[in-house]
């Protein structure tokens, strides 16, 4: 089987603004999936609500477009039920770290074989540009006329502090690097976070492609993503330079390997056999609580 980007072509008209960084990400997704030789019917893209979450409609692919901020939770349900499929989440940083922050936190703990791609455009774009969890402190918004008072979330440090087994960073301004990063993340067996610095020309005139080109740099060959202390230092130093590539890698047992009883078959094929209850009942009847 040989999959091409054309297999992922969709006829749904795209509702993003011209010049949006999401286009580069969309192309990288097509490229990575086809280069991994994954056919659209073996992949599920799971999203919530926002601009980034519209992405799977612009592909031909199994799509679960659920609720704002709940994409990771739904993806866990999908993956547990269908462990033969490749499950990828695309979320805005508002959904993944704001509304859905709790799911993100606990998904890291599980280390299921999921890839979570966060399109970080530093704002709630679809609802008209309000501050998001990563908006730099001091940014003036209508709801924060004297500037955002909260410090931005540091999702990379958060992930590494919780031993997230794959942490990568890309930017829509460096499309050349994106597909490779996505491929590595999807290939990685375990929970992968791909944080993408995404440009949003409609609401953010500072973080332009040019800006990211200037402020980002590729991690060199000498960088060891398995050195946790170094990775933490890297992502916790002030943010005027952003490293691109695989920031952190850790070998951890996969969720279902470590303790879930082996789910050998995807659940969709399971017959209903009411008699199973008989067996359970027998065991139950034998025991006094």
């Amino acid at each position: 089987m040989s999959v091409s980007t054309a297999d992922y072509a969709s006829s749904v008209p795209i509702a993003w603004c011209p010049g949006c960084g999401n286009f580069a990400i969309l192309n990288a997704v097509k490229k990575s999936l086809s280069e991994l030789d994954l056919p659209p019917d073996r992949v599920v893209i799971c999203t919530g609500i926002g601009q980034a979450p519209k992405l799977p409609h612009y592909l031909r692919v199994n799509t679960f477009n659920g609720l704002h901020g709940r994409e990771i939770a739904s993806a866990i349900g999908i993956k547990l039920a269908a462990n033969d499929l490749t499950v990828i989440v695309h979320a805005g940083e508002g959904g993944a770290y704001g509304e859905g922050g709790n799911h993100f936190l606990h998904a890291i703990r599980r280390n299921m074989d999921l890839t979570v791609v966060v399109h970080d455009n530093l704002n709630y774009a679809l609802t008209k540009g309000q501050a998001s969890p990563t908006t730099p402190a001091g940014t003036v918004k209508r709801l924060q006329p004297e500037g955002v008072a909260s410090q931005p979330l540091n999702p990379l440090a958060l992930a590494i502090s919780q031993s997230c087994s794959f942490v990568g960073q890309g930017t829509s301004a460096r499309a050349d690097l994106l597909a490779g990063l996505l491929k590595a993340a999807i290939r990685h067996r375990g929970f992968s976070l791909v944080h993408i610095l995404q440009t949003c020309p409609s609401w953010d005139r500072i973080h332009t492609p040019q800006f990211y080109k200037e402020h980002c740099y590729e991690l060199g060959e000498d960088y060891d993503p398995q050195d946790r202390d170094a990775a933490l230092r890297l992502v916790m130093t002030p943010e005027d330079r952003h490293p691109l590539g695989i920031l952190y890698l850790e070998e951890r047992p996969l969720y279902n390997e470590s303790a879930l009883h082996e789910i050998e078959q995807p659940l969709r094929g399971r017959l209903v056999e009411p008699e199973t209850a008989d067996q359970v009942l027998k065991q139950l009847a034998a025991k006094t609580k």
Binding site: N62, S74, L80, P266, L281
Partner: protein
């Protein structure tokens, strides 16, 4: 004849274990028994009790009569002695003086057996001895329970022997001796939470996600015990929102998916419920009610969330509300809930409550052979033959073809936005209208499948008492007693609560001379439903506001007052 036993003490003193041993023992002796508990929201201390109602006749209602009070603390004596029936006795240790105390000293017998910790086993043995449970039934129980731990087995066996002997030796014992039962010693001893979990297994559950919350936790603890055997993926989620969204994801992927929670957790699932409605994903949600608002009384019972469940979620979408009428019925209702959910691609909410969940009964073994076993997903073979697959294809019934991703070369697209037939988001008013109408047609299909209510007695021109859920059993028993004098009061119980077809229900309620709704909640939930659906006023309402179940005695008094007046 029946004997009511109340085992009371502080949380952690083993009342639950004692009740379980006794319940199982009387079940194996061919008697009938129902047991329920009254517990505080704490792990040790306070005043809890387990109540067993044992009879040579079938019995399923709740009563407040107490013939034998086992009081493990002074507080238990003081608080509960007033509940004793005439001739009732207290079993307690010597230092707890009380005029009703039987001369059977728990503490002393326990000490003789070598450990203060076996007091509850002594209590079991004393009660067994009093009611005439055969010691050949008792002994295996002690082995089953403590056999795994030699250090425990020894003193418990001793406690059993000496307790049993002491009771048998007591001269005033006769009034507690139960006549033999019907000889059926093969009945099950099953709790509501076990019945609900069993029903889920019978219904083919393959995925469960949930977050602990009383009284629903016990349901998924059972599923936890059985996960390997029954092949269920169980996920303890970080919160209830995660649980319902996991359920939605798993259902999309073709699992028979379920969650269980109580009011507060259900409140957090409401957005997800609306998601299930929009993407038309099947799911079963067990809502174990307890008194609200908010945290309320976490370990008590109520039936206060019917209308909340009926309207929970923004926008309109079909859903089904079911309510088991008894502990055994929990099995059926839950099993059928899975069938209905998948058949109609809707969320099904099973309304139960703390009383039903935490009640244990002796019951005939259920048969699963006749239960539905159909799956409604397109098979991989059927799918492969389709030139195109569209998840929300229009259909007269409103039921579009459902497929799981990965089952064929087709992709499956679902969207929480309003969408077109392929599942892609839309801005079009026309497409939206088509989809809304499709879901309305589906709602009509669901309504046609509604189960008829259970009606007992002649309704025409007679008073009609209406119930749903856990209070059905006590009301049925109260009415049986009232009707024994020829009163002729009819009873209607609803196991299918929503959607409620207007015509058949209206026909029944309009035939009655008066209607009375019994519901354990401060405001009438079913009262609202009936008024809306039938446009008939409810003449009498019997409600409870204390978080405690209705007792048969109380119902007889109230029903006689209200309905017979």
């Amino acid at each position: 004849m029946e004997i009511n036993i109340r085992i009371a003490g502080a949380a952690g003193q083993g009342m639950q274990t004692a009740a379980d041993l006794l319940g199982k023992g009387v079940t194996r002796s061919g008697w009938h028994v129902i047991a329920y508990s009254d517990a505080e929201s704490r792990i040790r201390g306070g005043l809890n009790f387990n109540h067993l109602r044992v009879s040579d006749q079938p019995c399923a209602g709740v009563t407040n009569r107490v013939d034998i009070l086992v009081a493990l603390t002074r507080e238990a004596v003081e608080q509960l002695a007033p509940t004793l029936t005439e001739g009732g006795v207290i079993l307690c240790s010597e230092e707890r003086e009380h005029p009703r105390r039987a001369p059977l000293n728990l503490a002393q017998l326990a000490e003789q057996a070598g450990s203060k910790r076996v007091e509850s086993t002594v209590a079991v043995a004393l009660v067994a001895g009093l009611i005439g449970l055969d010691s050949s039934v008792l002994e295996p129980l002690i082995h089953e329970r403590f056999g795994g731990d030699a250090a425990k087995l020894e003193p418990n066996l001793k406690a059993m022997t000496s307790g049993y002997a002491a009771a048998q030796a007591w001269s005033n014992r006769e009034m507690f001796v139960l006549p033999p039962g019907d000889g059926q010693t093969e009945r099950l001893w099953l709790a509501g939470h076990e019945a609900l979990a069993l029903g889920a297994v019978a219904g083919g559950v393959t995925f469960f996600a949930g977050y602990p919350m009383s009284p629903a936790t016990a349901i998924f603890s059972n599923l936890g015990d059985w996960q390997k055997q029954a092949g269920i993926v169980i996920e303890q989620s970080e919160d209830e929102i995660a649980a319902i969204n996991m359920v939605a994801g798993a259902a999309y992927a073709g699992a028979r998916a379920m969650t269980a929670t109580s009011g507060g957790g259900f409140a957090l699932m409401v957005e997800g419920l609306s998601l299930l409605g929009m993407i038309e994903a099947p799911a079963v949600i067990v809502l174990g009610q307890r008194p609200g608002p908010a945290t309320g009384l976490p370990t008590r019972t109520a039936q206060g969330d019917l209308n909340f469940a009926r309207f929970a979620g923004h926008g309109s979408f079909p859903r089904i509300l079911l309510a088991p009428s008894s502990v055994p019925d929990c099995i059926n209702v839950t099993a059928y809930a899975f069938d209905l959910a998948e058949r109609f691609q809707v969320p099904v909410i099973v309304l139960t409550d703390q009383l039903q969940i935490d009640t244990t009964v002796s019951m005939a073994a259920p048969s699963f052979a006749e239960m539905p076993r159909e799956r409604y997903l397109l098979t991989p073979e059927a799918l492969r033959k389709l030139p195109v697959y569209r998840r929300y294809e229009q259909a007269e019934s409103g039921l579009s073809p459902m497929a799981a991703p990965g089952d064929s070369h087709h992709t499956v697209v679902v969207d929480s936005d309003e969408h077109d037939e392929e599942g892609h988001m839309t801005e079009s008013g026309e497409v939206a209208e088509r989809m809304v109408r499709k879901r309305l047609r589906k709602a009509a299909s669901v309504e046609q499948a509604a189960w008829a209510p259970d009606v007992t007695g002649e309704v025409e021109g007679r008073p009609l008492v209406i119930t749903w859920g856990s209070c059905r059993e006590s009301v049925a028993e109260a009415l049986a007693q009232i009707n024994a004098n020829g009163a002729g009061v009819a009873h209607m119980n609803l196991r299918w609560l929503w959607p409620l077809p207007a015509e058949p229900i209206s026909a029944i309620v309009n035939a009655a001379s008066s209607i009375t709704v019994v519901e354990n909640s401060p405001e009438g939930g079913l009262v609202s439903v009936l008024r809306e659906v039938t446009l008939r006023k409810v003449d009498h309402e019997i409600r409870s506001v204390t978080g405690r179940p209705f007792a048969v005695e109380y119902l007889i008094e109230q029903l006689t007052q209200e309905v017979m007046a």
